[in-house]
Amino acid sequence: MLKKVLLGSVAALAMTSALSAPARAEVSFMYAEWIAALVEPGIEAFEAETGETVNAIKLPGQGYDQRIALDLSAGTAADVNLMDSFMVSELASAGYLHPLDELLAGWDQFQYYMPGLLEVASYQGQVYALPTDTDVRMLWYDLSNFEKAGIPTPWEPKTWDDVLDAAQKLKDAGVRYPFQLPAGTKQAEAATMQGVYMALLGADVPEGDRNRLLNRETGQWIGDSPALRRTFDLFHQVYVERELNTAELNYATDIGAAVRAALAADELGILASGSWEDACLWDCNNPPSREERDATVAWTPWPGSGVEGAKTTTNISGGWTIGINANAADKDMAFKLITSIFDEGNFKAWTLANHRMAVRTDISESPEYTADPFLAEATKLAADTTGRDTVPGYQTVSALIQQATADILDGVPPDEVVQEYHDALVDEFGEENVVTYE
């Protein structure tokens, strides 16, 4: 008798829990705070049109990459997610993202996306996410501090030595952060892209990918090369040998806010960053006026190292994307949200207001876009750009590069740092996938 009662109650419990499960979840969407001006009007339009509610999860930019990787791998991620483009192939290779090709075929605005930019968000021939923008990288500088240091503007450095000399003058003039070169693990991807890769590309001849992290032909990671040594030595000179910057901003509690505060207080000399600074000078969602910005800062392309045969200016592009979780309950609804965000009216307004580099021809060829003086200049830089080595494994390599720059900040000699980096690559990918250049 007791057994029956017990079994009965277990069965009843199981049934009630099954019945009380929600019929269908709303669409959830995770994004970083800096892109609110693009996605929030899109969410509103989506809700008005479909009557569905969007569970919007807005997060700070700090630590966002780790969060999205962890959420997707743990199966707790939102249905729709904003992510850095470098993560797409890796996340797709693990089966965390839903391929979009079928859904995209039914969307009339898809034809305008530039194929080269879709490639970054693809894996094995399938598109897994749609890009929000792309970017170029450059050296920004504070005009008033350059005047104080007696450096003529517009500033046009030709080699790394010119940059270091300018930083030295800024330091002598009492500028607190003469050359803010992103470094260290807390800077995350910024240390790799704005710091190491921009220097690396100009550190040696491009032949055989001697100026990269990956030999793209053989698929081997480069564990030691003259370019890597020169790049790490540049960091060593800036942070240790000549003390042209302190490590401070790289480890601020909120790095983005600290850099912006330093800019506003005229404490920055040179800032290695990217085209988004044009809008993000004070706050990404409230771009300054053209006059205000031009009176405060200017920019110049990153020069090469000056080594014979190396590039004279360098550039690498990244960008962000929005994709669908492979476990999303209703993929059509999730895709509908994406198309609401990327609908021409909304997407174009944001791209123009924030001076973002367009990823679609219907926007990039519009008269308003071509008339924007900043975008016209930035697009010239984009003529000679390259992308990250967005093959699976990149995220790990990037983290190792960040660790290497952190060790340089600690005063570890560049030779040891290269050795440590090489050994860690071998640990991760095996001897046969790591190559050394003399």
Binding site: E248, T253, A406
Partner: protein, 296 residues
Amino acid sequence: MKNQANPWLTSNLWVLGLGMLPAILLIGILLYFTAWAFAFSFTDLALVGRKSVEWSWVGLENFERLFTRRGFLESLWTTVIFVFFSAIVGQSVLGFLLAAALRGSRSMLRSVVEVCIMLGWLLPDIVAAFLWSATTAQTGLINQLIITPLGLPPVNFINDYALPVVTIANIWKGTAWSYLLFSAALDSVSREVVEAAKVDGATPLQRIWLVQLPIIRPHIATNMLFITIWTFTYFPLIFAMTGGGPGRQTETLAVFLYNQSFARGNLGFGSAISVAMLAIVGFLSLFYLRLLREPK
């Protein structure tokens, strides 16, 4: 051998099994996570990418790397310094001194001090981290109030003295626990014993050292056990304040574990670090548990 008190319970194996279920579940869940970390410390499991689904066994490789690669030993040393100065010396000693000094006083002062100590404890770690960074930065309160008025050039404490700053921040944050525990412990020392010592001519210092401390010895050991374990694995305050930097100066084992697992994405190596941490904390706990025993 039937249990005479509950013949009905032992006569039916099904009922017995059902009754044991909650306990088995609880123990199972507790063991599950540890076993998971232990098992994956022998693999090359990654956070994302192919190796997150097609991982393989790599034997003791991850454990070898703890000693052959830069990071683990440095972080262990940083952690030992952090635990020793912020928990054992800072929180414990300060907590005890406050408890001893305020003992028996019923004045306003005691209430005020207690509230102040508790505030640090109650404040969320992230808020505390922002407060401490703002206070110790080059333009922060300490420079504005002390360094600059003295005519000295401002010092960027959080950059130049990162480890001492996070240590002091953690003392501020965690002293409340030790204070409360020692307060309660000292209250349990009976007044007669202390007064008898007084009559026998013991000085105040001798009364503390020879009478009160031996009586509350088990409490001291319990307190040490707790604060050592949680300071050893403490993460949010340091991570938010410095992210382990500058360089690796404040990279404690918890921050190192996070960076290796979630930035580098190597969960296998991360698991090996956590197993090593478990072993170290386990060893320390055994040491304290021995202290807890009454001397024969």
